[in-house]
Point group: C2
Chain length 191, copies 2
Amino acid sequence: MLDLAILGLLHETPMHGYELRKQLATKLGAIRAAISYGSLYPTLRRLQTAGWITEAGETPADDADVPPLTSRRGRVVYKITAEGKERFQDLLARVGPEAFEDAAFGVHFAFFARTEVEVRLRILEGRRRKIEERREGFREVLARAAERLDAYTLELQRHGLEAADREVRWLEELIANERKNNPPADNPRRP
Amino acid sequence: MLDLAILGLLHETPMHGYELRKQLATKLGAIRAAISYGSLYPTLRRLQTAGWITEAGETPADDADVPPLTSRRGRVVYKITAEGKERFQDLLARVGPEAFEDAAFGVHFAFFARTEVEVRLRILEGRRRKIEERREGFREVLARAAERLDAYTLELQRHGLEAADREVRWLEELIANERKNNPPADNPRRP
DNA sequence: CTAGCGATGTATCGGGCCGATACATCGTGC
DNA sequence: GCACGATGTATCGGCCCGATACATCGCTAG
């Protein structure tokens, strides 16, 4: 799951670990917390061993750096290899049940701009089905076991039901737009 | 985190692992997926070693079992000890920053019926602050970096922002009710 | 009658990911 | 001139998950 995210980011531009973590945090902020270094660095090593990324010596042309960052220390800049790009496409198109889990779905979604329409649809529909099942679970608990649960547990169920319901509607909107070949940006929002 | 959940459930009634997992799944369904056996059984062993739970021989009085379950196999029924109850109260009242994380917050909330009002309020307020910060993050990304992100990433941010916003409002409602000493069940919902 | 299946039930193993921690450098402000 | 926060790399112990294995029970189809 981290593999896909890291390869995806390095596909756009070479980066070092620290920067990678920051980008991940903003790009996937809606899905999961910032990734830990205890995951990041071992994963980078694994990807490098597999031949999907390589160390790229610090780029000498630092033109237009945000502030005048003259530092040139132990930063290790990674870039994706040809095999890495293949691997990325492979992971991106693989639509197993894992792709519908919370975290994995978010990562897939974050790279939808690089995904085929049919794959996007299959992922969105799989995710919808999963959330629908979750929603059904809440409904059953609320209908069948309401009297056996205390007020707070019930409130948790209600909140979960509402959240699931809203996510289903969100997914349905996305699916409909996808079928009309509209990217989500074309979907007008009230300001 | 599992410790608190398991002790809490065993506080209500003795149970074996399988049942424990099912109860956890419904009680915490809104928060986290069903707990894995790969976590459950090692945790039970740990709790037992610590002296917080003990094996209770299969209860002989099986009166009013749901179906006539005559089976009496290798089921291991656990029950909480006096030290376990102390430990549970201790964990329940400990309000560190971990208690505001997604999963831990859910577990704490699920046992609010057994929690002091002041502790409930501190947890709800800490959680609210955390979600507010998350919401601020989304807002900043949407305001400052919108042009650098693709449509799907933006949509993810919008969705995250909306979810965070709604959770803040939910928490605010709960806090207000808490201050008026109303349990959440008194909060009327349209059917 | 029996073979198979799905639910119940306990348990382990490898691995992913996290939080805490350590350590070093750079620019800035006091 | 020095403390502090941001930048940056790295490891370690531990929690938790998914996959897997294995055994029993009750039901039902052949």
